[in-house]
Every structure is written in structure tokens, then in C-alpha cells.
């Protein structure tokens, strides 16, 4: 039996769905990069009481990059959220409402990921040595 596709307005845009995941992916990448760098550096290139400054510099760099990417993604989400005149909640069964909803969710996830990245980075602020 032949099935008919639902109207395009009712479909979620796959491109927007991927955008939704970028901020948490930045968070995951930042977390892994920070801990892998410190683990490898302390295990392979520094004594047990080795200075933690090189790691702190590397994590600061990762943090700036991750927060910049998240700010950019959050900006995209904010623009999608504010598109047009409608207000929250974006729950109409239309393509525009769906884009506004995904934009708003992207913005909120960006904020959450930004805070999580700062929490991860905070650990390295007090890291004096490889101990």
C-alpha cells in the first residue's frame, strides 16, 4: 500500500536538529580535551609534582574556543527564536514555529553547555601541580 508523506510544515528539519546538538557536543569535546590533555601530560611528560601551568594554559585555550563556538551557536538559536512576531510557546504545527522552537531549545542548551564548560574549567584554575 502506498503511504503519503505528511505536509512539509509538520516535519522537523534535520539540519536544525543537528544544530541543537552542537552546544552539548562542544561541552563534551571541551571536557574530553581538558582531561585527556592533563592525563597524558602528567603521565608522560611531567613528574608527579610537575607544574600544572601548561595544562591550565591549554584548558584556558580550549575554554575560549568552546565558549566562542557556543556563543555563535547560541546566537543562531536566539535569531531563530526571535524570528517573526510570535511569542512562547512555539507549539504551532508549522515550519516557522518548529524553527522558533528549535532555536529556543538551541539557545537554552547553549546556556547550559556554557555553564558546564565554566564548571569544568574551574577545576583547572586551582590545579597547582600534577598531584
Amino acid at each position: 500500500m502506498k503511504t503519503t508523506k505528511p505536509a512539509a510544515d509538520g516535519l522537523l528539519s534535520s539540519a536544525k536538529l543537528w544544530t541543537l546538538t552542537f552546544a552539548p557536543l562542544c561541552w563534551a569535546a571541551h571536557f574530553l580535551a581538558s582531561y585527556l590533555t592533563s592525563a597524558i601530560y602528567c603521565a608522560k611528560y611531567a613528574p608527579a609534582d610537575g607544574d600544572g601551568l601548561p595544562i591550565r594554559i591549554a584548558v584556558a585555550l580550549f575554554t575560549v574556543i568552546a565558549l566562542s563556538l557556543i556563543a555563535w551557536i547560541g546566537g543562531i538559536g536566539l535569531r531563530a527564536h526571535h524570528m517573526g512576531e510570535t511569542k512562547l510557546p512555539h507549539d504551532d504545527n508549522t515550519s516557522r514555529s518548529e524553527q522558533r522552537f528549535l532555536g529556543f531549545a538551541t539557545l537554552l542548551l547553549s546556556l547550559l553547555s556554557g555553564v558546564a564548560i565554566l564548571f569544568t574549567a574551574l577545576v583547572f584554575v586551582i590545579m597547582e601541580t600534577c598531584h
Binding site: D49, F119, L122, V123, V125, I126, E128, T129, H131
Partner: protein, 327 residues
């Protein structure tokens, strides 16, 4: 001497444990406050009949649901992180160093003296009060975790890796130590006692632990009944020594100063002076030792030591006398 009646991270006797307990009280206080406010708002929302401004309620949701938790978590995280450098910092150069290895399901302990010599013991740790101590922790089989709740935080013991931990006892007493990482059948019975004493008592204890059996008043192997000075207990101990070797105990256990040099099980050179049997499972009394020797697997299911149910009653008695005399 104070003996901790229960094992608790809040019954503090060390600098690390004091900071951790402090953090716990702040977290518990903060959590209680947040719970009261949240429940108060929920009850208010249910009971309140009057209309509220949409703008105000939206800010309440954003503030209470996102901003306040973030600020509270950031505060707690910062407070905890500030503690870390001091807790992680090694003990000063020249501090007492103790190597501890986790073995299913007991603790191999080596004190390093001033000359670098290792003084072995097992399942019991003596510490001097008000002195920082550096622990070097490893494992001989699976992952264990070394934890003396009253003295400080716990640290994992990994095969092939040495982790370190600094503890700084602040009052004398007897405290409990445990394995805090599930490691197999007898994990819950992998315990040890920690005795914190004044410096002089500790120094005397360490000098005693360094002695080998031959340096002390060894239970005599001479069982000649004509020797009127030999007490019945000493005779029993001498027979027990013979039993110890004839029954193969020396294959697994070392008694320094004798041919017994097994390393599979705990060093027994000063077994009689220890507080517990079977890694903190039983108090070290003759009755409990008799039970341990004759029905080991009932006392500690899964233990690697074989059940010596073939030992005759008189052999068990003599072993109890011999091991009890190893002070």
C-alpha cells in the same frame, strides 16, 4: 585509648576528614534550605487563590529553576575546589611514609624507616598523632580503595600504579579502615584497624615491629619436660611452632627470623600484638583465633586461605599459643 564505636566520616580525627565533614555540613545545610524554599513555593502555589503577574511568575521560574541552582552549585564547587590543593599536597619531606597494597581481601603494609628499610606488617596501621603521613597505595590484583573515614578521603588502589595520599591525624584513638571499592566476594570483610598514638608510643611500636623473631624471647623449640622453667604455655607455643611448619603455614606466611618466608598471605611476625584477625573481621582473642583456624571460610566466605579442618584440636590449640605469643 579512645576507640571509635562506629565508623563514620563525621567522627573526625584528621585534618582531611575535618574539611570533608565541613563540606558535607555546608552541602546538607544548603540542600535543606533549597528544599524548604522549593517546598514552600510548591505549597504556596497550591494554596494561593489570587492571580499573579505573568512576568513575575516567569522570572520566578527562571530564577528558581536556573539561576539559583547555578549560583548555588558554582558556590559549592568553588568551596570544594579551594580545599583540594592542601588535601592533595604531599606530606613534607622527611615525613613518615607507609606503603599499603590491597590484596584480595587484606592489606599488605610496609613502613619505610629513616634508612629506607621496609618494615612489614599487615591489616593494622599505627600512626603518630599531629604528624603528616604519606601513603603510597597500590594493588596486587584488582582495584581496591583505601579509606579511613575518620582521618580523610579515600584513594583508589590500582594494579601497576602507585597513588598517594596524605593523612594528618589530630587525636589519638582506634579507628576503622575499609576497602571502598567493590573487589569481590569478601570485599565487605576487607577492613583494618588504625591506631593513632602519641609519638613516643609510635616510635616504640615501630622499633618493636622492626624486630625479627630471633631477636625476641622466642617460644623455645626445646620441649624437654625436665626444663622446670618452661611454662605450659611456652611448651604449647613451641609445639605450635612445629605445627606451623609441618602443616605448611610457612608456605604463605612469613615470620621474620625463621625459615617462614611466604608472601602470599599476611606477615605474622608480630601477629600476637595485633587487634584483629582476618583483616579486621574478628577481635584478636584466643577463642576467635581458634575459630578462624578451624572454620576459616565460615568466618570469611571467599577468603584465599584454605580451610584447615583437618587440624586436630590439640594442633589448633598449639597454633593459637604460638601465634598469640608473636608479640
Amino acid at each position: 585509648m579512645h576507640q571509635s564505636s562506629f565508623q563514620s566520616a563525621l567522627d573526625t580525627a584528621g585534618k582531611g576528614a575535618e574539611r570533608i565533614a565541613e563540606l558535607f555540613y555546608w552541602m546538607a545545610g544548603g540542600a535543606t534550605l533549597i528544599w524548604i524554599v522549593t517546598m514552600g513555593l510548591a505549597v504556596y502555589a497550591i494554596l494561593s487563590r489570587r492571580e499573579h503577574s505573568v512576568r513575575m511568575t516567569r522570572w520566578l521560574v527562571i530564577g528558581g529553576g536556573a539561576v539559583v541552582p547555578t549560583v548555588v552549585l558554582a558556590g559549592l564547587l568553588s568551596y570544594a575546589l579551594v580545599m583540594l590543593p592542601e588535601l592533595q599536597r604531599p606530606a613534607p619531606e622527611g615525613s613518615l611514609t607507609i606503603e599499603v597494597a590491597g590484596v584480595r581481601w587484606w592489606w599488605r603494609v610496609n613502613y619505610i624507616d629513616n634508612t629506607g628499610r621496609r618494615i612489614p606488617t599487615a591489616n593494622e596501621i599505627y600512626l603518630p598523632v599531629d604528624q603528616p603521613v604519606e601513603f603510597k597505595l597500590t594493588s596486587e590484583d584488582v582495584i581496591h580503595s583505601f579509606w579511613i573515614p575518620s582521618l580523610g578521603g579515600k584513594v583508589d588502589m590500582m594494579p601497576g600504579r602507585t597513588n598517594r595520599l596524605k593523612l594528618h591525624p589530630t587525636r589519638t584513638g582506634v579507628f576503622s579502615g575499609v576497602c571502598a571499592e567493590f573487589c569481590g566476594t569478601a570485599h565487605a570483610q576487607m577492613r583494618f584497624r588504625v591506631v593513632v598514638t602519641d609519638q613516643q608510643t609510635f616510635d616504640d611500636w615501630l622499633v618493636g615491629q622492626a624486630q625479627e623473631l630471633a631477636e625476641r624471647r622466642e617460644p623455645s623449640a626445646n620441649t624437654d619436660p625436665a626444663d622446670v622453667h618452661q611454662s605450659a604455655a611456652e611448651t604449647q607455643a613451641a609445639i605450635g611452632k612445629t605445627t606451623f611448619f609441618s602443616r605448611g603455614c610457612s608456605a604463605c606466611h612469613a615470620i621474620r627470623g625463621t625459615p617462614a618466608d611466604g608472601v602470599v598471605g599476611p606477615d605474622l611476625t608480630h601477629f600476637g600484638s595485633r587487634l584483629s584477625i582476618g583483616a579486621g573481621v574478628l577481635d584478636n582473642t584466643p577463642e576467635n583465633l581458634r575459630l578462624w583456624l578451624s572454620d576459616t571460610h565460615r568466618v570469611k566466605p571467599g577468603v584465599q586461605m584454605p580451610d584447615f579442618q583437618t587440624l586436630r584440636g590439640d594442633e589448633v590449640d598449639s597454633l593459637v599459643h604460638f601465634l598469640g605469643a608473636l608479640k
